[in-house]
């Protein structure tokens, strides 16, 4: 593919700039980096460029080279030419050449383009150097194995030294700007790869002493010095004479990479000051006497010529040197002293900031108490000087509240008014209604700090700053109350209230009028209800609680028919509580008649919901019932009904949890939706391992049906327990569930009675499930181990016949079993006690005729309508023959098993 036309490139570049990610994902995205590099070198595009420069060779003879350059620049600026291609590579190398290999290739190509430029003035050399540097640094290709790095670094250093690099490097007119550019490139590489220039420190020093450009060299040397000091102190090494070596590092061999640092471990240049203290304290470098002298000389050299730098560059130099010297033992910061005379009076934002950094770094060692007072006075004035811009004022005000004092009193890292900043000095810094919102808040913060101090000094009495604060807040409230005023005004009033509550929460003298003022504001403009809700959410109880009560009174004292009903309801949902429910309820009852649309109904229901959470009671139940009938909207009616059901069925704590706010779901307009995930989770049944153990107690053997006695133990308190049983194989009729209100571990519980309705007289397995509420309000469901109903559990006695007729009663039963039934005989082994204890232990309730020790007649009723009769006759020492009859042949094997089971137990 040949090079693109200028128009095509213009289109492509603007598409890329609009959205690099979309553009890179597009069909041509991957090729952009490659196309860019090839077109940079393409003859055709340069020809296009030449078209625009047709006059320039001629001009070159007439005008100075500078004028030609200007023409060239103007041309290049206005056409999507090579310069704009380079601009793109300066901004988006990470997208164009995302990995080290492509970045290396790109840098190589850019360097080739640079070398091949014809030896006449060109606007491309500078951006090409910048682009190659950027590509290498960003792509992570910078390193000893990268060929492009090994080409670029000596080239940059050579240019920085002002060496003659031959005709290829353009006319001499370009040497000086290129020298500065090379320094900038080296500085950027050093920033990204600290220590890179460690070996060139001496060289840079000597250059600075000669005629090199002061600013680029100063900044480069300062950065390299700082990085070297940090790296060497971390490595526990000294400066190793690095400041004195004046050898070109690539004179004969390759670049010295040994002093560089892995760039994944870039050290913070300006960490928070206290942190820096600790860090440096641990690894402080103690240079030798000779080294210290050289170091001082280098720093002094940099500082002495620093006035020649632009203010922003001077500031950078001060930050760097301050940081460099901080970590050194025995290096008094007095070197900075001569500069301070000049700097304390600076009107430059960056310089004043740098002075504050020095102040924080060196404190008393560099700044006397007078210096401190002077700095404070200057900051105070700068923070209000009419010739400075509002953003500057605000930044100075911030500096004032974070001022690095020589002897700080307050806790570290918290904004506070400096000790020397008395009320008199603050005069001009206090807020007034005329200020814009940011300035007002910043100044209000200062005023709050002053009031807080004031209170400490003279408790009880109302002081002037407090009085002023009151007036200011009243003014803000008055403005916020303006009908139809912008929301920003209201926001400002609430922000101010929040600040006051935060800093002066313990001062009732300030809070009381604030609360009254806010209540008045609500009266004037209920439309601000969302702001009130937000304020109540954000402030502590000192303001929040009295304000809540006040606002509640404010709302319920209205008639519910107010046109601002929607806002009243919104606020009421926030401020309602369990006390004085009747006033709330009567307000709501009035309001209900006016809640004609869905939004209002939802707002009304939200208040009910809030009431449900904090209390309950008959009044609310009545209201909900009325709403469930009366509301027009079916959604509203359903909701009222749901709340009513919840109120009627859930205990207080559970209601609270069920209706509590959820952290997961955002607040939404509908109360229905607001029954959010938390609510759903609270109402939904959770599957859980059983904290309950069930066991069968002794059978009761009385009444018309068999009844199981269940013993229950719990491992944690549970509420509203419901036990559900299911009979396997439908041997019995479906069983009723058992309900228990509350069970606690360690507290003996009454046995639970489970009546059975057998459909046939057979043992069975019962499947058991438990549904219960945990103390946290969750409803859980557990599957318990199955319960076995034994054959004997179904035994019931016959009604006892009169004393004289028992024998005949039994015989009638015995005879009636046949012929449809069955008969059997078994030998039942007995223990050493004989037959009597055997009977009384297992069969006592069913004995009809007893003639101990030899004969027992036993009749057992087996629901639904079977019988089992046993005759124990002529017992012997080791056992007894048992004759058994039943009218249901299916019972016979069960009975046999039962008897054998009894014998086995013996």
């Amino acid at each position: 593919m040949g090079p693109l036309s200028r128009e095509a490139w213009a289109q492509r570049l603007s598409a890329f700039r609009a959205s690099p990610s979309t553009s890179m994902a597009g069909p041509e995205g991957e090729d952009l980096g490659r196309d860019l590099l090839s077109d940079l070198r393409s003859e055709k595009l340069s020809e296009q460029t030449k078209v625009g420069l047709q006059v320039s060779p001629a001009l070159a003879r007439v005008f100075t080279p500078a004028r030609t350059e200007l023409h060239l620049r103007n041309f290049l600026l206005n056409s999507p030419s090579q310069v704009s291609l380079l601009a793109l590579s300066l901004e988006y190398p990470a997208q164009l050449w995302p990995d080290a290999a492509t970045a290396e290739a790109a840098a190589t190509s850019l360097l080739d383009t640079l070398v091949l430029l014809p030896p006449r003035p060109s606007a491309l050399r500078r951006p090409l150097l910048l682009a190659a540097t950027t590509a290498l640094a960003v792509g992570g290709a910078l390193g000893p194995t990268s060929e492009a790095s090994c080409r670029l670094l000596p080239l940059l250093l050579g240019l920085a030294m002002g060496r003659d690099l031959g005709r290829g490097f353009g006319p001499t007119s370009e040497q000086r700007p290129l020298q500065a550019t090379a320094c900038e490139c080296l500085r950027e590489l050093e920033s990204c790869k600290p220590g890179l220039l460690g070996g060139s420190l001496g060289l840079l020093r000597s250059l600075l002493g000669q005629e090199g450009p002061v600013q680029p060299l100063s900044l480069l040397l300062a950065l390299a010095l700082r990085n070297t000091l940090v790296l060497q102190s971390r490595a526990g090494a000294g400066l190793q004479g690095l400041l004195m070596t004046k050898v070109f590092p690539t004179g004969s061999g390759p670049w010295d990479w040994t002093l560089t640092e892995d760039d994944t471990h870039l050290q913070p240049q300006i960490p928070s000051w206290p942190a820096a203290e600790r860090e440096c304290g641990a690894a402080a470098l103690e240079p030798s006497l000779e080294e210290a002298k050289e170091l001082r000389a280098a720093v002094a050299q940099l500082l002495d010529t620093s006035y020649l730098l632009t203010p922003v560059a001077q500031a950078q130099l001060l930050w760097l040197l301050g940081w460099a010297l901080r970590g050194l033992r025995g290096q008094p910061p007095a070197l900075f002293k001569p500069q301070l005379v000049r700097l304390l009076g600076t009107a430059q934002l960056t310089l004043l900031h740098a002075v504050l950094a020095l102040k924080a770094a060196f404190g008393e060692a560099l700044f006397t108490a007078q210096d401190e007072a002077l700095l404070l006075r200057r900051l105070t004035l700068a923070a209000q000087h009419p010739s400075l811009s509002p953003p500057t004022h605000l930044f100075y005000l911030h500096c004032l509240l974070s001022f690095p004092e020589n002897c700080p009193l307050g806790p570290e890292g918290e904004e506070a008014a400096p000790l020397l900043l008395g009320p008199r000095l603050c005069h001009g810094l206090l807020p007034s209604l005329l200020h814009d919102p940011m300035a007002l808040l910043a100044r209000l913060h200062l005023l709050c700090l002053l009031c807080a101090e004031d209170e400490e000094e003279e408790k009880g009495q109302i002081q002037t700053p407090q009085r002023y604060l009151q007036e200011l807040l009243a003014g803000l409230q008055q403005r916020a109350a303006l009908d139809g005023g912008p929301r920003a005004l209201a926001t400002l009033c609430f922000q101010a209230s929040y600040l006051v509550a935060r800093y002066l929460g313990g001062q009732p003298l300030v809070l009381t009028p604030l609360i009254h003022g806010l209540a008045k504001l609500y009266r004037a403009r209920p439309v601000l209800a969302p702001h009130f809700v937000d304020l109540l959410d954000q402030v502590g109880p000192e303001l929040g609680e009295p304000l809540r009560v006040m606002l509640w009174q404010e709302v319920v004292s209205r008639r519910g028919t107010d046109e601002a009903l929607c806002w009243h309801l919104q606020l009421l949902a926030k401020v309602v509580d369990g006390d004085s429910q009747s006033a709330t309820l009567s307000f709501l009852q009035d309001a209900a008649a006016y809640c004609t649309d869905w939004v209002l109904q939802q707002a009304l229901l939200r208040v009910c919901r809030a009431l449900l959470r904090v209390s309950g009671g008959g009044g609310l139940a009545d209201l909900l019932q009325a709403l469930a009938r009366q509301l027009e909207d079916p959604d509203g009616r359903d909701h009222a009904r749901l709340y009513y059901i919840l109120l009627a069925h859930l205990a207080g704590p559970k209601l609270g949890v069920a209706l509590g706010p959820s952290l997961a779901a955002p607040a939404l307009a509908s109360s229905l939706v607001a029954e959010n995930q938390g609510f759903a989770a609270a109402l939904m049944v959770q599957e859980a391992p059983a904290p309950i153990r069930l066991s069968l107690g002794p059978s009761r053997a009385e009444g018309p049906l068999p009844v199981l006695q269940l013993q229950v133990e719990v491992l944690q308190p549970i509420y509203s327990l419901e036990l559900r049983f299911q009979v396997e194989g439908q041997l019995y009729a479906p069983l009723e569930a058992i309900h228990v209100p509350c069970l606690c571990p360690g507290r003996p519980a009454q046995p639970l009675l489970l009546p059975l309705q057998p459909r046939c007289p057979a043992p069975a397995q019962l499947d058991v499930r438990a549904l219960y509420t945990t103390p946290t309000g969750l409803t859980c469901h557990s599957h318990l181990p199955p319960l076995s109903v034994n054959f004997a559990d179904l035994f019931l006695p016959f009604p006892q016949p009169p004393e004289g007729s028992r024998q005949s009663f039994f015989e009638d039963l015995w005879d009636s079993c046949l012929p449809k039934g069955a008969e059997s005989r078994v030998w039942c082994p007995l223990g050493p006690q004989g037959v009597k204890p055997f009977v009384s232990r297992h069969l006592e309730p069913f004995v009809v005729v007893a003639q101990p020790p030899t004969r027992y007649c036993i009749a057992i009723r087996l629901p639904p309508d079977s019988r089992l009769l046993l005759q124990l006759d002529s017992a012997q020492a080791d056992g007894v023959p048992v004759a058994l009859r039943t009218d249901d042949w299916a019972v016979l094997p069960l009975a046999g098993d039962y008897l054998r089971g009894l014998s086995a137990a013996v």
Binding site: V138, S191, H427, T491
Partner: protein, 414 residues
């Protein structure tokens, strides 16, 4: 001390997006350092589209303030500096230095050379003040001598190249963009001698040093017993003075449909009675247009701006011999039209002010001056020394004494 990115966004209320990104520049080498320094708290620089949206929202410049929005209107969301956290893609981009000036948002993101969580104090971040200077520099460049939109566009087109000079890698070399422009234009000039970086080209004219002292005087006058009047003079030299230069009172009485006003101004005898200009602006906020005006004036002329509901009393160059002047009158207003007549948050009800605008050349209230014979210049050549003085009014208010007025702190302390 480096910047990760810089933007210029024009604020265009009423348009669908609310603004346009007019210029942006990213610094990938700085971004690479940010990723390493910030570690887990690193948030990448967004593309222009998402940035535009986020910055307009955070600066409250989108038109929809109808509904309460917690992320913007919450009382705890307080910004006390021009440094913001922007929500972009669910993450917070911080610190963003941004301010609005002449419908243009200037914004940049300074590199923070440590973790961002928790936010380090702003005073510890060198890039903050550097960022401010960069933005101020751009602002000065765009608006120095700029008159029309086309001139602004031309300057915006020059910006990429200027930044390539003044801030090639995100670390600023010079906040004065005019110097950078000179640098480009005079690139050929060689500099044999050591020369300040802020003076790149050699100046061909006569060397001269100009020292000018400008004082700005602020005043709040209430004409009330329980509130003290205040004044403050700030300038190159700052000090307190015994009197404000012009003392006065302003009385407004509302009588049914009309306002009665009475104004008295008195120049202090110690003040030089020679103004470059002196005017009293008398605005009437939150009312309709002026429909009828009757007035009596002892000196000067009264200009009436009916639609703006504004009176300007042009006092001129001198006060009369008596040093005292009066204005009284009756004003009737028409029906209020929200769009045409000015709205003000403070001048509600009877609260009203007049504001004095004046300038006196060759004069300072403090008496401060520079003696041109005592100025020493340590440089080769003999520059011509000139000195100037002037006094300018700045926020010089006289409040209606018949109604409440916003009180400044000083008024209460005294």
């Amino acid at each position: 001390m480096a910047q990760r990115a810089v933007w210029l966004v024009s604020h265009e209320p009423g348009t669908p997006l609310g603004g346009t990104v007019r210029f942006s520049r990213r610094y990938p080498t700085v971004e690479k350092r940010a990723r390493i320094f910030n570690g887990a708290s690193y948030v990448p620089i967004p593309e222009d589209g998402p940035f535009l949206k986020a910055v307009l929202f955070e600066l409250r410049l989108l038109d929809d303030d109808k509904d309460f929005m917690e992320s913007r209107d919450s009382c705890s969301h307080i910004n006390k500096t021009s440094i913001y956290g922007l929500t972009v893609g669910g993450e917070e981009l911080w610190p963003v230095v941004a301010f609005l000036k002449n419908s243009m948002i200037y914004a940049c993101v300074p590199l923070v050379e440590q973790t961002l969580s928790p936010h380090p104090p702003l005073i510890n971040i060198s890039g903050i003040s550097q960022g401010f200077e960069l933005l101020f520099g751009i602002q000065d460049f765009l608006y120095s001598g700029q008159k029309s939109d086309s001139e602004l566009n031309a300057k915006l087109n020059q910006l990429p190249d200027l930044l390539l000079q003044a801030c090639p890698f995100g670390t600023m070399l010079d906040a004065n963009f005019q110097n950078s422009l000179d640098n480009i234009n005079f690139a050929s000039v060689t500099h044999p001698q050591k020369q300040p970086a802020w003076r790149a080209g050699t100046y061909k004219g006569k060397p001269q040093v100009s020292i000018s002292i400008t004082e700005k005087v602020k005043s709040m006058q209430y004409d009330k017993q329980d509130i003290a009047d205040t004044w403050q003079v700030v300038g190159t030299v700052t000090c307190k003075v015994p009197v404000p230069p012009i003392l006065g009172f302003y009385q407004v009485k509302e009588e049914e449909v009309q306002l009665k006003i009475a104004i008295n101004l008195k120049l202090h005898e110690s003040v030089k009675n020679n103004f470059e200009f002196c005017e009293a602006h008398i605005p009437f906020y939150n009312r309709g247009p002026i429909t009828h005006l009757e007035y009596k004036i002892s000196f000067g002329q009264l200009e009436v701006f009916r639609e703006k509901s504004l009176l300007i009393w042009v006092i001129g160059q001198k006060f009369p011999k008596s040093m005292e002047i009066n204005l009284s009158g009756t004003i009737t207003f028409g029906t209020k039209n929200q769009e045409k007549q000015p709205f003000d948050q403070i001048c509600i009800g009877g609260t009203a002010y007049l504001k004095l605008h004046f300038k006196i050349l060759d004069y300072t209230l403090t008496g401060c001056y520079a003696d041109q014979h005592s100025v020493q210049v340590f440089a080769s050549g003999k520059p011509k020394i000139s000195t100037h003085r002037k006094l300018i009014s700045s926020d010089y208010y006289i409040w209606n004494s018949k109604a409440p007025a916003p009180v400044t702190y000083g008024s209460l302390l005294l």
